[in-house]
Amino acid sequence: MLVDVHAHFLHSRTPRADWHERNVSRLTAGARIGISVHVASILGSWGLTSPIYFPSPRDVTVGNDALLALQREHPDAIRGYSCVNPNYTAHARAEITRCLDAGMIGIKLAASRRADDRLLDPIAELARERRVPVLQHIWQHRRRDWPGQEASDAVELCTLARRHPDVAFILAHIGGGGDWLHSLRAVREVLNVYVDLSGSGVDGGMLEECVASVGVSRLLWGTDLTMDTGWAKLRYLELLLTKDELALVRWKNAARIFPPGAFPTD
């Protein structure tokens, strides 16, 4: 069993003419890697009619609908995060409820609002009620604002996580850019924050630091935009960890924080 906790799909109402090929490529590569379930999100229209990281409510719904359709098309292989924009609180909560009722298993927060902002509290509260994790897009050690996103870093995510100790938060793509060591130091003592290993970074020493900082019981395997780097990290973990430890990272940790029955064999 192998769960990719950080996947994305595209749809026809995005800027990408090759959206279908990219979706097929993810599933094909996933089969080769041995991915059992892709837990995915769609960030609105991926920039076509509203910004990727600031999706309009209408685009949020369109994107989530596209993901629900993919989930129905691939019921064994795809699960969804409901992507929402926390600036539209009522819409966000309604969208989460709608998507979870339709079979999604988590909440995706990109970079529409800083993670420590009080506007995220109603969403975190709903996550607690529905017992689903929140995948938070993270810039590892954000030293300034970056164009196109109101990115958060690990310190800001930990502020939110401390306010909601009964919710599992997933710190996105530790290898996705920025100072991962800063993030690992920040989340070490915040036990309801899990580290997603995805991202294009395959730095020597990063996985050792992940294990040393938060332990194998808080690591989740994923790919994001580069499945080759995900596979590389998995291969390295096979050497670094025992069989039982590896199973935690491959799927058992995910099975613990996602709703019961989210994955076929848990």
Partner: protein, 260 residues
């Protein structure tokens, strides 16, 4: 024996963060782990020294001690220093497969007169010149590590500066490769090789696209280890539908044209 050759590896400590596995013994274990027969190695600390060539003697000796052709030294040449032609001649004498010069790390203008002189000299002695676009993701670098990334324009300028020089460019992404390749004449493009370590696999499939649009003969196997996990470059190839011959070309065969 796989025949796989890693053209992009380093020995020695990195100044900006803790990196495990930088010793010759550790690199040998990593090569065994991912079934790489030979690594082209450069002395990493030297890239940050005033005279990077002071690391070359250690590099030659380490490669010699390793035996069995496990390491092939790629010494650094600094064309801004008075003795650079001697360093280049020593590389030829030592049987180095290539020499390296990362101009921005050495404080040189990437396509300035010193680099052009080096390109011409490399062309004259038949040694490929290795340049890295970057060593780390720019988003994660140490706050005091402000060395710029190599520009595609600099590679175009260097390949145009001499009609014999051959370049091996490492750590380039798809956009960089395309900009240089299609911004060069066919003859110029035929004298540039690219390592695969920074080119994305699925679902974006940048590597698959480049192999189709630019040609499989332009690409060689490189990892950037130990700064990067060598497993990544192997995984990239494992995710492609390559014939055994195509895979062998990338893993070693294309080096014949680069080094002959």
């Amino acid at each position: 024996m796989s025949g796989r050759v890693d053209v992009n590896a380093f020995l020695g400590a990195y100044p900006w963060r803790k990196v495990p596995g930088t010793s010759p013994e550790a690199l040998t274990k990593a090569l065994d782990r991912v079934t790489i027969d030979t690594a082209w190695v450069t002395h990493l600390p030297g890239l940050f020294w005033r005279d990077p060539t002071e690391g070359n003697a250690w590099l030659y000796e380490t490669a010699r001690k390793a035996g069995s052709g496990r390491f092939k030294p790629v010494p650094t040449v600094h064309p801004g220093l008075a003795h650079w032609k001697e360093v280049l001649a020593a590389a030829v004498d030592a049987g180095a497969p290539a020499v390296r010069c990362d101009p921005l790390y050495l404080g040189l203008e990437p396509s300035g007169s010193e680099m052009r002189a080096l390109a011409t000299a490399c062309g004259a002695v038949g040694l490929p010149l290795v340049l890295a676009v970057r060593l780390e993701d720019g988003r994660q670098r140490h706050p005091n590590d402000r060395i710029g990334e190599l520009a595609a324009a600099s590679v175009r300028a260097l390949i145009r500066s001499d009609d014999q020089v051959r370049l091996l460019v490492t750590h380039a992404d798809r956009g960089f490769v395309e900009e240089v390749h299609f911004g060069s004449t066919p003859d110029e493009a035929r004298r540039i090789w690219w390592d695969i370590c920074w080119i994305w696999g699925p679902p974006e499939d940048h590597l698959e696209t480049l192999l189709e649009t630019i040609g499989i003969e332009r690409f060689v196997f490189g990892t950037g280890q130990p700064l990067r996990l060598p497993e990544n470059s192997v995984a990239k190839l494992d995710l492609l539908d390559l014939s055994p011959g195509q895979r062998a070309a990338i893993e070693s065969g294309n080096l014949n044209a680069l080094t002959s």
